[in-house]
Symmetry: C2
Subunit: 137 residues, 2 copies
């Protein structure tokens, strides 16, 4: 399976998960190759909307070009959604991390398995009750 198909499968897995929890979720057509900045997924309920950039990797860390994160923030701010990055490391479950909690390496932003376990949210936390003070660790 090529990289694009893997990415699409990862996105679909999250789409099913959000719908299963009562949150409508759509995949954005042409995300990442359109002339406009757009996330991979949009999900929401009547009160909140989340814009999600999805990554699945076999590695223990994932690097993001700063421009990708800037565009996620910009899109989210304009449409009125919260910006999130959904990451699946190997056989771990999905974690969702705020752009604020990525590590700034100078050239890039980075998320590691350690970072998302410390500062990230699991799906139920993302759409439900947030862990208090978790981002202060």
């Amino acid at each position: 399976m090529n990289q694009k198909a893997k990415g699409t499968n990862a996105e679909r897995e999250l789409v099913h998960r959000f719908w299963g929890k009562g949150w409508p979720c759509v995949r954005v057509a042409g995300s990442g190759c359109s002339r406009y900045p757009s996330p991979d997924l949009l999900a929401g309920n009547r009160e909140r909307m989340v814009a999600i950039e999805c990554k699945a990797t076999k590695e223990n860390s994932k690097y993001f070009p700063k421009e990708e994160i800037r565009l996620l923030r910009e899109f989210s701010s304009q449409i009125g959604a919260e910006p999130w990055i959904g990451i699946k490391f190997g056989r771990e479950d999905w974690f969702f991390i705020s752009p604020d909690d990525l590590k700034d390496t100078g050239e890039c932003f980075m998320a590691s398995l350690d970072i998302v376990k410390q500062k990230g949210l699991i799906t139920d936390e993302l759409i439900g009750i947030f862990k208090e003070n978790k981002t202060d660790i």
Copy 2:
């Protein structure tokens, strides 16, 4: 050009238009063939979100299966968006009509050029100031 490509082009035209007016807009991947109900477009600003089913036709009227409209309403209600139908009749400009203003023919819902000219909104009205009392005509 086949029917699907025509539909995609019509959607892209609206995507450009919304972005041009400062409203982020995305095309939904797999709308109409996914297992989940989803509109063709989602657009919004910080205050409002619209879910749009797009149709372009050479005819002077367009029929919608009732199920299609029910699903548009259901999706919109769950995600917290306003349901709209965007229609382009021939060389006319796009009109946006509320599902409430479609004509019930018994088996289907229907929008004609006359109906959208009476009860529909143009793009600027959809995203900006609504024509007062227009839906009471």
